[in-house]
């Protein structure tokens, strides 16, 4: 193929396009999706780029089908993804659960807009944070990343693929309308500078292979369709062979496996970008576009002589529980700016565990948070006023 997989160089593109380029650089060769604002540009970019790389783009009949198709493609041995926004994300929940249960690597990018329902199709929100965590039924762990710029859309999409391949689950990118539609400089590195992780294949014979018997890291090697292993994959609770094991014991074993592979590897998965937190008395914890407002506010607070710091969550799920707990002795207050009525702030409160006050700075969507509001909250917190 003459087309380049990795468009090395400096680009001026929006977040949606950067997401597409990140996916292709990570080796994604299958995209199934359905048009939805503000994520459509990801699908459009994919539809232009994938055929030239010998990949498949298919526009499905809805988001349920899109999610099902990327799971099927992943079992066919091809790295796959879909993109959507709130209403489509709701429809994907069913098969995200199938992906979790069957441990299927794939990536879902949710470019968030205002909700509930059709809400604000063209305007920003961060209202799907808890939906990403708990949206499919049953108990499970998830990995979700939150980019704050088109550059991070590129970088985090690659990381999302790597995490999905490494830990065998659908990884969610929780972007938002502003990140998706904002044009900024995006630097695409050389292909050999990009770290790519691929799923581990089984090394044993068909007779010895147990499809869901984890290695030491908690993740089982994955045989794909046609490898000759004659795998059985089911959304029913299953044992290490992949066969239904529908009782309390089977449930305990399977769900433990799904949960532990994330929990026990959380130190490798969780990433935060910390700014001025060593001596910080007021720590702002934020993510996505709100982290950009927060960064401005923290800088302004420092200029005002307040010991403010910022934790920018690169992974929103799993939540950096250990980091927050370790900071509670030194911190006077935490502040969480987010574009919803208070979702991640609940996690922050849980981890602060009453040791220090937690303040929410928010709007319900439609606009980003003005840094002055966050600065005001920092001033109040520094004076000890909740």
């Amino acid at each position: 193929m003459s087309a380049k997989e990795v468009l090395t160089g400096i680009h001026f593109i929006n977040g949606d396009q950067a997401c597409c380029e990140g996916a292709l650089a990570a080796g994604c060769r299958f995209f199934a999706g359905y048009p939805i604002t503000p994520a459509t540009e990801i699908a459009e970019s994919m539809s232009k780029r994938l055929p030239r790389l010998g990949g498949i783009f298919i526009q499905m009949e809805d988001e349920i089908a899109s999610m099902a198709a990327i799971l099927g493609a992943s079992w066919g041995g091809v790295k796959s993804m879909t993109s959507t926004s709130g209403p489509g994300f709701s429809l994907m929940m069913e098969n995200i659960g199938l992906g979790i249960c069957t441990e299927t690597p794939c990536v879902v990018c949710n470019v968030q807009r205002g909700g509930p329902s059709t809400g604000l199709p063209t305007l920003v929100a961060q209202g799907d944070m808890m939906q990403a965590r708990w949206g499919s039924h049953g108990h499970y762990e998830i990995i979700a990343l939150s980019p704050s710029s088109p550059q991070e859309m590129f970088d985090f999409t690659i990381r999302a693929f790597n995490l999905s391949e490494q830990y065998r689950l659908p990884v969610i990118i929780l972007a938002d309308e502003v990140i998706g539609h904002m044009n900024e400089r995006v630097i695409i590195p050389r292909e050999d500078e990009i770290e790519i992780i691929n799923r581990r294949k089984p090394t044993v014979s068909r007779e010895e292979y147990l499809a869901y018997k984890p290695d030491a890291d908690g993740v089982a090697p994955m045989a794909i369709c046609g490898d000759g292993y004659r795998i059985h994959v089911t959304g029913l609770t299953h044992d290490e062979r992949g066969y239904p094991a529908m009782d309390a014991k089977g449930q305990e074993e399977m769900v433990s496996r799904l949960v532990d592979k994330i929990r026990n590897n959380r130190h490798k998965i969780i990433k935060t970008k910390n700014m001025f937190i060593d001596d910080a008395e007021v720590v702002v914890v934020s993510y996505g576009i709100s982290a950009r407002s927060s960064m401005q506010a923290v800088r302004d607070a420092r200029n005002d002589g307040i010991k403010a710091g910022l934790i920018k969550l690169e992974t929103v799920w799993p939540f950096p529980e250990d980091l927050i707990r370790s900071l509670t002795p030194q911190v006077k207050a935490f502040i969480m700016p987010e574009i919803n009525g208070g979702q991640m702030v609940l996690e922050l409160e849980r981890c602060a565990c009453g040791a220090c006050p937690v303040t929410l700075v928010y709007n319900y969507g439609g606009a980003i948070i003005n840094p002055s509001l966050i600065l005001g909250a920092i001033h109040k917190a520094a004076k000890g006023k909740p």
């Binding site: 299958f30 199934a32 055929p51 030239r52 010998g54 498949i56 298919i58 499905m60 009949e61 809805d62 349920i64 089908a65 899109s66 099902a68 198709a69 990327i70 799971l71 099927g72 493609a73 992943s74 079992w75 066919g76 041995g77 091809v78 796959s80 069913e94 098969n95 659960g97 199938l98 369709c225 046609g226 490898d227 000759g228 292993y229 004659r230 795998i231 059985h232 994959v233 089911t234 959304g235 029913l236 066969y243 239904p244």
Partner: protein, 294 residues
């Protein structure tokens, strides 16, 4: 001295090479038609002579959906109604694999109805075998899109107020390249239709009218499984040359059976490759002596 008798060994079945024998006994009720259809699917696969490693089965949820759990192929038991979009992704990612979808009338045409019409429209290269038992068996016999008007189910105790779909007509009008219907008693015809469907490139569809004695038959006083089989068979009229829209599926009048469609049409992948100037590996039969070993 008494020599202990050798314990009676479990006899092997000619189809064992494609069964996950460690999972038998299966969950299907005595008299259920799914076993017959399952056996016909396996026989058809054997007829093709293809390497089982180049065939995959995808199913949705329900009694028929459990076939994927017993067949020794790469097999995927997915979510309710979503077998076809899952199979679509699998097929497009791995064109060299033959993909078979098996499912019931409720899974394929109620919750999965939208996926069915679009998979047929795109002419995805997938073979679909639908066990139409006229109700939802797994959940205890509720009304389905195959339930005849006036029939009793647990959710239509006084008779179903809805007209059922004619699945073969629907499949053909959506663009399926192969469409056939048989009752579960017409095993030879069924076997050869599934074999033909497997050899077909494109969206092929075989419907089987199959007894559900535990639920549908009991509530509609149709007698034993055998009586149900005989009843469906008695209602059936073979009319292979008929326009699919006239292929009546009415258990009170006539069950028209036969092959209704057998046409050629470019598949999604054919068109995708054409418009994007690509060379995509097409599925081709891979023969193997693997069957004898396994």
């Amino acid at each position: 001295m008494i020599t202990p008798k050798a314990s009676k060994s479990v006899q092997s079945h000619p189809m064992d090479f494609l069964l996950r024998t460690e999972r038998i006994p299966h969950i299907w009720c005595p008299g259920c038609g799914i076993g017959t259809v399952f056996s016909a699917v396996i026989a058809a696969i054997k007829n093709t002579g293809w390497d089982p490693n180049s065939i995959a089965m995808v199913s949705g949820i329900g009694c028929t959906g459990r076939m994927a759990g017993y067949i020794k192929l790469d097999s995927f038991h997915t979510t309710h109604g979503r077998a076809l979009p899952f199979a679509t992704g699998l097929k497009l990612a791995r064109p060299q694999t033959k993909v078979i979808v098996v499912s019931g009338d409720g899974d394929l045409f109620a919750i999965g109805g939208n996926h069915f019409i679009h998979a047929a429209r795109r002419n995805m290269d997938i073979t679909v075998v639908c066990v139409n038992n006229l109700n939802y068996g797994m959940t205890g016999g509720q009304q389905s899109p195959g339930t005849p008007l006036g029939a009793k189910t647990t959710t239509t105790v006084n008779g179903s107020p809805e007209e059922p779909f004619n699945f073969c007509y629907l499949a053909s009008s959506c663009g399926a390249t192969y469409v056939a219907r048989w009752t579960a008693m017409q095993v030879r015809s069924l076997r050869s239709s599934i074999t033909e469907a497997l050899f077909k490139t494109g969206f092929s569809f075989v419907e089987v009218i199959s007894p559900c004695p535990s639920s549908y038959g009991r509530r509609n006083r149709m007698g034993s499984a055998l009586e149900m089989l005989k009843f469906y068979h008695g209602r059936s009229v073979i009319r292979g040359d008929i326009d699919p829209k006239d292929a009546l599926m009415d258990i009170d009048k006539e069950i028209v059976v036969g092959k209704f469609v057998d046409i050629e049409r470019p598949t999604f992948l054919d068109n995708y490759a054409k418009f994007n100037h690509l060379q995509i590996p097409q599925w081709r039969p891979m023969h193997s002596d693997d069957q004898k070993v396994r």
